[in-house]
């Protein structure tokens, strides 16, 4: 979603705007269309996952997405600069609660809440090791 070396990425540009908050800036083009002239609802959700995922990492207990809930308020336009403002609401044990809103100018397009759950130690290393093994298996 943000990767400049990944052609799938719109890309989103994320800036930290406070101790526990950040804003994603993005403009979706025609390939991301859902309803006529509007961003596909799936990419609205995906963009929230990315920016909320960045913001939750500022809370000191970064984790994987546990729950993501999106409320769509109005169609999100294509070819327009969008702002996705997100912040941490609370960190409680292994859980980080975050929320965000997507605006096109003054218009609210969607809102989101998410719970991220810190993985037990070692999970990330296990994923890395299993990816390394699979990459070798897939080597031409």
């Amino acid at each position: 979603m943000i990767g400049l070396a990944n052609p799938l990425a719109p890309p989103i540009r994320i800036e930290q705007t406070g101790e526990r908050e950040g804003t994603g800036h993005v403009r979706f083009r025609s390939a991301y269309e859902g309803p006529p002239g509007c961003v596909h609802g799936g990419f609205v959700a995906a963009a929230f996952d990315e920016v909320l995922g960045y913001v939750q990492s500022l809370g000191g207990s970064p984790g994987f997405t546990g729950t993501l809930a999106i409320t769509y308020r109005s169609p999100t336009p294509l070819h327009v600069d969008l702002e996705i403002r997100c912040r941490i609401r609370e960190v409680s044990g292994r859980k980080t609660y975050a929320e965000g809103a997507l605006h096109a100018g003054d218009r609210l397009c969607a809102e989101a809440t998410a719970i991220f759950i810190a993985a037990r130690p070692g999970v990330f290393d296990e994923l890395l090791a299993s990816r390394r093994q699979r990459t070798e298996e897939r080597e031409p």
């Binding site: 979603m1 070396a5 990944n6 052609p7 799938l8 390939a31 991301y32 269309e33 859902g34 309803p35 006529p36 002239g37 509007c38 596909h40 609802g41 799936g42 990419f43 959700a45 995906a46 963009a47 929230f48 996952d49 990315e50 995922g53 994987f64 997405t65 546990g66 729950t67 993501l68 809930a69 999106i70 409320t71 769509y72 169609p75 070819h79 990330f124 994923l127 890395l128 299993s130 990816r131 699979r134 897939r138």
Partner: protein
């Protein structure tokens, strides 16, 4: 009730199947080009090619992008009105960013009907370009796949709506390079509201579940969006 369900589903699937063969030789080539671009996208993300190889590829793609921009833009209204009974699915098979064979962003997911009313199964395998955690599908694409599958199945109600809300619960990391099975089902319809649920499995493992609420717009609202898009296209020419 079950007879009505079968009938609304049959009408919906008829329109969907009508889109499966490419609508013209040009659209067949567009699907072929998208397939090639898809291989480039996956290959680029995984590749450890040296600088000069990447620079040559970038130069040829940049010149191709400039050539493509010289051609007139697609008059999307043409495709939408090709299936006047349901403009909402008119461009789906080719243009959707998840199932569209002519859209290089699409993995693509394949949608199959099951012998149960108001249920659809999506089969998809994500490559490295869709990676989030190491070796796993980005959580955003998991959510997006649910939006697509639930968004498709709710159309079987006969009165397709826009996503009102979508909640995804992640149970375990979703693996890349693995055939996934996404099931979407309408659970109930109340006036303009359509409720749907979905599951995503990798073999025997449940990766995620979702619930969606879809709201049928007034027909005039949809036409307004189409007119606004056509006007915006003209301004961008």
């Amino acid at each position: 009730v079950s007879q009505d369900r079968r009938e609304s589903q049959r009408l919906f699937m008829e329109r969907w199947e009508a889109q499966q063969p490419p609508s013209s030789p040009a659209w067949a080539e567009k699907r072929r080009l998208a397939a090639a671009m898809r291989r480039v996208i996956g290959g680029l993300v995984e590749s450890n090619a040296p600088e000069d190889e990447l620079a040559r590829a970038a130069e040829s793609l940049e010149s191709y992008a400039a050539r493509l921009a010289d051609h007139p833009r697609l008059r999307r209204g043409d495709r939408d009105t090709a299936l006047p009974a349901d403009p909402g699915v008119g461009t789906f098979a080719d243009q959707s960013p998840f199932v569209g064979l002519a859209n290089p962003l699409a993995p693509p997911m394949r949608l199959e009907e099951e012998d149960v009313a108001w249920r659809i199964v999506g089969r998809v395998r994500f490559g490295s370009a869709y990676e989030g955690p190491p070796g796993c599908v980005h959580g955003g694409y998991v959510a997006a796949i649910f939006d697509e599958v639930l968004g498709f199945v709710q159309g079987m109600s006969g009165n397709p709506g826009f996503t009102g809300s979508l909640t995804v619960r992640y149970q375990r990391p979703t693996p890349l390079h693995t055939e996934l099975r996404a099931v979407g089902e309408i659970t109930r319809v109340e006036g303009r509201k359509i409720f749907a649920t979905g599951t995503l499995d990798a073999g025997e493992l449940r990766c995620a579940e979702a619930e969606g609420l879809f709201i049928t717009p007034h027909p005039e609202h949809y036409r307004k969006l189409q007119r606004a898009r056509d006007a915006a296209m003209k301004r961008r020419r």
